[in-house]
């Protein structure tokens, strides 16, 4: 049952004449999408001819509303960075109609009451659907498991201590066993704290040059390998958050080959930026270095080889889906010494535009991109069991639609973000392609 409880449109709305791409149905055709009572009624040529209300989508790509299974809305507790309202507005502007919010709020979402609070709040002020992810352990302390069944009943769609890795292998094992009973997924932020040892960026020649402590790629790899083994042991679903390294992907590919219940996501910034972005924001003079805190993120930006590996893995399906890991921060959290700066990139409003660059460069097909932002994330967390049809345009699916103008040129301007977080290393970048229309629950929530 759809617990989003936000207002759905009652009347008929047709999005007409666009190129409809729904990878879940293998659809790619010109036609109309007809919506009514908050649901998809039909998809096909001219099905919207008689609709009460119509939007002309000729020249646009029309697809299921984008789904982001990893973002940080900061509410409750850190409203100076973001609120559910500003975050969902940012999501709408980025073409997203469903977002899953991570539980590292203050207090963390480790109780049914808090999960219900988030859902209510989202129902009141949210612009798009919000599905809460509960923490895996009480207080995110990594010691005791939360009441998973009760949290699931309250509306949590997955479990994660994101921000923190699940350090204790025994605990991860038990978590997976328990979650598997509920058919739910544990999302792990894979970073071995011993190896990462206080690193504030990727350990490599850039960190050495800048004199910053680095975390080697192996800090991610060893925990990915561990989680894969535990998934095999328990049969529980593991989803690897924001994977970023070639060697983790090697393990992942093997795991999938073995049919193990492991999925993974990648962020747009790990598909496009390398650790050099920390040292030289684009256009700096020769020799002059800088310490670019807007490029500080966890996991850190990696080497060109890792980026290439991520692009390939996404295209091939070793990485299931794209997730933004939208991490808004206040200006003062970034305007400080690199070691002290908060890691994270405000990404909801740029995710699609950035990933379309890969499509333009022919490293990714449009189909695969849309799949990676609609049906695939839904599948990874099993969200369609709660909300049938989510991430698709099948009849009966929620009336979530995104229209994309593939050729629309625009410049990333953080000052104009709806998100309170203006922290992005992509500021000033010229992009081609963006969402120009977002419909959530049958209502237009954003139109360019």
């Amino acid at each position: 049952m759809d617990r989003a409880r936000f207002q759905t449109g009652r009347k008929q709305l047709a999005i007409r004449g666009g190129r409809i791409v729904d990878p879940s149905q293998g659809l790619d055709m010109v036609g109309d999408v007809l919506l009514a009572h908050g649901r998809v009624v039909a998809v096909g040529p001219n099905v919207g001819r008689e609709a009460e209300e119509a939007i002309d989508a000729r020249g646009l790509v029309v697809c299921p509303g984008l789904v982001d299974i990893h973002c940080h809305l900061r509410e409750p507790g850190m409203e100076h960075k973001e609120t559910i309202q500003s975050g969902t507005m940012a999501a709408a502007r980025g073409g997203f109609t469903t977002v899953c919010c991570m539980p590292n709020t203050e207090p963390p979402l480790d109780s049914p009451a808090l999960v219900r609070w988030v859902l209510e709040r989202a129902g009141q002020v949210g612009v798009v659907r919000v599905l809460p992810i509960a923490s895996l352990t009480r207080g995110r302390r990594g010691e005791e498991l939360v009441d998973m069944a009760e949290l699931a009943q309250a509306g949590a769609v997955a479990f994660s201590d994101d921000g923190n890795p699940v350090v204790n292998a025994h605990l991860m094992r038990r978590a997976l066993e328990y979650a598997s009973m509920l058919g739910m997924t544990v999302i792990d932020h894979c970073e071995d704290p011993g190896l990462a040892a206080g690193g504030v960026m990727h350990e490599g020649w850039v960190s050495a040059r800048l004199g910053l402590a680095g975390a080697p790629a192996e800090a991610e790899e060893v925990m990915v390998a561990r989680d894969i083994a535990l998934a095999r042991l328990t049969g529980g679903n593991v989803h690897i958050a924001h994977v970023s390294t070639r060697w983790a992907l090697v393990h992942l590919a093997w795991a999938k080959g073995q049919g193990l219940p492991v999925t993974a996501e990648v962020t747009p910034h790990h598909l496009l930026l390398t650790h050099e972005a920390v040292m030289c924001p684009s256009g700096e003079g020769p020799g002059a270095i800088s310490y670019n805190t807007s490029a500080k993120v966890s996991p850190p930006l990696r080497t060109p080889d890792d980026v290439a590996a991520c692009q390939q893995a996404l295209a091939q399906g070793t990485i299931d889906c794209i997730a933004t890991d939208h991490a808004p921060h206040a200006q003062e959290d970034k305007l400080c010494e690199f070691d002290m700066a908060a890691p994270g990139i405000s990404g909801l409003e740029t995710a699609l535009g950035l990933c379309l660059q890969l499509v333009h460069q022919e490293r990714l097909s449009l189909h695969r991109l849309i799949e990676a932002m609609t049906a695939a994330p839904v599948r990874a967390l099993g969200l369609d069991r709660r909300i049938p049809g989510l991430g698709t345009l099948r009849p009966g699916a929620p009336a979530d639609v995104t229209a994309i103008d593939l050729e629309r040129e625009w410049t990333v301007d953080p000052a104009s973000f709806a998100s309170r977080g203006k922290n992005t290393p992509f500021a000033g970048r010229r992009l081609r392609g963006r969402a120009v229309l977002t419909i959530a629950g049958g209502r237009v929530v954003w139109r360019e």
């Binding site: 350990e203 490599g204 020649w205 850039v206 960190s207 050495a208 040059r209 800048l210 004199g211 910053l212 680095g214 080697p216 050099e276 020799g287 002059a288 270095i289 800088s290 310490y291 003062e332 305007l335 400080c336 010494e337 690199f338 070691d339 002290m340």
Partner: protein, 323 residues
């Protein structure tokens, strides 16, 4: 004593700050050294004072304790007639107090023109330089850079060895955590010296063969590396490294990497022994070599004042652009 025969070819200093030596061309490096020559002479006068920076306030903002560097900058500024204010910040007070940028803004509002700063976090001076109209001199940031140390080391080497092109300089110690090693690496390779970094693998920075590092040799064996060296520079070893699991014990380190008489004999007979100070006698240097004939460690300190005077002189010009 020789008079300088020709004035340096019109190298014009165009940097507003001195954050690291990696942005200095060979001509600019030589300009600093030649200017330091003139400054050294000033220091030898009966009244070692010139009015060049009269009316200018120089602030030493030190987030890390330091006796010699701070005193050196203070003497340099005063020799040029400037007023000096020293601010030492306790690490504990930072947590609850002003942010770095707030502190810098206050200093600027008080009328200071030059900010000499030392900070435990790499990159801190870069952050500051982007948010102030003062001239910023990096007196050491984290592991990253210590430009004036490299310049005074270069100056010391030049006084004894003359031309530095092709000279073999061995830097031994905790390279990974050393801003002195990094800055020296940039300065020496810019002048065509051959640099060998020596130390255990656990104390070497990663990725030295990649990216925009200058070309450098790495060796784990000091006996081999020190063969024929023109300069042997030992770095201070911090005891915290043992705790961090980077070194098994001091005894091991001493056995493998201490510069003693025997090892020093393998270097060139005119080799210089250098150390940024303060020396852990008996650890990175055997006691008998600290004051041996080849040691220029004390001279480094003297030269430091002249070099810092030169830097202050060159930075504080009107219209100096860039960083």
């Amino acid at each position: 004593m020789q008079e300088k025969a020709t004035s340096p070819q019109a190298a014009i200093w165009r940097h507003r700050h001195l954050l690291d030596v990696d942005v200095l061309s060979p001509q600019e490096l030589m300009l600093v050294l030649d200017t330091a020559d003139a400054m050294r002479e000033v220091l030898s006068r009966e009244v070692p004072r010139v009015p060049t920076l009269r009316g200018t306030t120089v602030v030493n903002l030190f987030y890390e304790p330091s006796t010699r560097t701070r005193a050196s900058f203070e003497l340099a500024a005063k020799a040029l007639g400037a007023d000096v204010i020293n601010i030492a910040v306790e690490q504990s007070s930072v947590r609850k107090g002003e942010s770095l940028l707030d502190t810098v803004r206050t200093i600027e509002a008080l009328g200071a023109r030059v900010l000499v700063m030392r900070h435990w976090q790499s990159g801190a001076p870069y952050l500051v330089a982007g948010h102030t109209t003062m001239h910023v001199i990096n007196a050491g940031d984290g592991w990253h850079a210590h430009p004036t140390q490299a310049l005074l080391d270069l100056y010391t080497m030049r006084r004894h060895l003359g031309e530095l092109h092709g000279r073999k300089v061995v830097i031994v110690g905790d390279i990974a955590h050393s801003r002195v090693a990094r800055s020296n690496l940039w300065a020496l390779t810019a002048l065509g010296a051959q640099v060998v970094l020596c130390g255990p693998p656990t104390l070497m920075p990663p990725g030295l063969r990649e990216g925009s590092w200058p070309s450098v040799e790495v060796s784990y064996n000091l006996d081999e590396a020190i063969e024929g060296a023109d300069v042997v520079m030992a770095l201070r070893l911090q005891r915290e490294r043992m705790v961090a699991g980077l070194l098994p014990s001091l005894r091991e380190y001493v056995r493998l990497y201490q510069v003693d008489e025997k090892r020093l004999r393998r270097a060139s007979p005119t080799a210089l022994l250098m150390h940024p100070g303060p020396v852990n006698e008996g650890i990175e240097l055997a006691p008998e070599v600290v004051r041996c004939a080849q040691s220029v460690i004390d001279e480094q300190v003297t030269n430091g004042v002249a070099v810092r005077m030169a830097v202050l002189y060159l930075l504080t010009q009107r219209g100096g652009e860039g960083g």
